[in-house]
């Protein structure tokens, strides 16, 4: 009921779990300082923060919607649009770059049909580039759902992605 006309989710047959979202919000009712915590929890479970949800948080936690909206668009951890089931981060840092990261990016873009910052139509992957994941010795590195995969060739990166549902 919280997500009346969101076509992207309808087409996916995967509606927002409104009850669960309410549960998270209600647990912190009236506590403005819990805002970011609530946003993180909902983002983690729901993979994005629809505007109606932002409005409900604002009301329940007594934070102006303008501020909630600013925070939701300020941090990269929050997404105002639906995100894929898997977060793919391709390292474009110097070390990875010289070891072939651009070719990995090309391969991944071709395979998924999306560019950095985008999510595919099936909501399978969201692609981002990052500047150094802090494990340069493993370069080139691709991180998927928080797990780092190092020393990848373009072919291996394609294989890796194919292993995800």
């Amino acid at each position: 009921m919280s997500n009346p006309e969101c076509a992207c989710h309808e087409s996916k047959g995967e509606p927002l779990d409104a009850a669960r979202i309410d549960q998270i919000i209600t647990a912190h009712r009236g506590d403005p300082s819990a805002l970011i915590q609530v946003m993180l929890e909902i983002q983690a479970e729901n993979r994005w923060l629809p505007r109606e949800v932002l409005a409900r948080m604002a009301e329940a936690l007594q934070v102006p919607l303008a501020r909630v909206q600013h925070i939701a668009t300020f941090y990269k951890a929050f997404s105002p649009v639906p995100k894929g089931r898997h977060d793919v981060h391709i390292c474009m840092g110097t070390a990875c770059h010289v070891r072939g990261a651009p070719r990995i990016l090309d391969t991944v873009e071709e395979l998924t049909g999306i560019a950095p910052g985008e999510t595919d139509m099936e909501l399978k992957f969201s692609l981002e580039t990052v500047n150094c994941l802090g494990c340069c010795a493993l370069g080139p590195v691709v991180e998927i759902d928080g797990k780092a995969h190092g020393h990848l060739s373009p072919a291996q990166s394609a294989e890796l992605l194919q292993g995800y549902e």
Binding site: P64, L65, A66, H70, T73, F74
Partner: protein, 198 residues
């Protein structure tokens, strides 16, 4: 502990605790240029035009006068070749975004800033935050806020609130140093009246 004695541009100035350097200077009739400052709002320190030089225990540094607390025995200079140079550059950067702002134009003339020094990238909003802060702090309506950050940061009206409140208020319009605020509001109004009702 009540009064604080300091010196601004060679003039002895008395301030009370909690005053900023800008307030102390203005109370003494000395002027410092500002863009994002507003007397009725919390100190913000966004535009950096109000920088001054402060000398304390033989060391000189640059501080932002609208947020820097007045303290005893400070020696403050509101103009110097260095300060003027920095203000000039700040103005040139702002002018690249809002070339037609009257307020910026006045200051540019005073500091010899060249509006064409940097490639124009007219975004019109210079992020002074006056509209956002006024609406939040004074009116407590939160009808306009910022979204995003860095070079993509922009103001955004919340249509639900704006349509209800803004028409009878509009107190932030004259605060905007550019004409962007008004333009953004007209746009929101237009969009909402075409797809909201009718």
């Amino acid at each position: 502990m009540s009064e604080i004695q300091l010196e601004i541009d060679g003039t002895p100035v008395t301030a009370t605790p909690g005053m900023t350097l800008l307030e102390a200077a203005r109370a003494a009739g000395l002027s410092i240029p500002t863009l994002c400052h507003h007397e009725g709002l919390e100190p913000y320190g966004g535009c950096r035009l109000c920088i001054v030089e402060v000398e304390q225990r033989g060391r000189t540094r640059l501080v932002v006068s609208c947020v820097f607390p007045a303290a005893a025995d400070l020696v403050v200079r509101t103009r110097s070749p260095k300060i003027d140079r920095m203000r000039k550059t700040i103005l040139e950067l702002l002018l690249a975004h809002a070339p037609h702002s009257p307020r910026l134009g006045e200051l540019a003339a005073e500091y010899g800033a060249d509006p064409n020094r940097f490639e124009q990238e007219a975004a019109f909003c210079v992020h002074c935050g006056l509209c956002v802060r006024y609406c939040a702090e004074v009116k407590q309506l939160h009808a306009v806020g910022f979204i995003d950050r860095g070079i993509t940061k922009e103001i955004s009206f919340l249509p639900e609130i704006a349509l209800r409140e803004c028409n009878r208020c509009k107190e932030c319009f004259p605060l905007c140093p550019t004409s962007y605020l008004q333009a953004a509001f007209v746009l929101v109004e237009g969009l909402m009246s075409t797809n909201g009702r009718a």
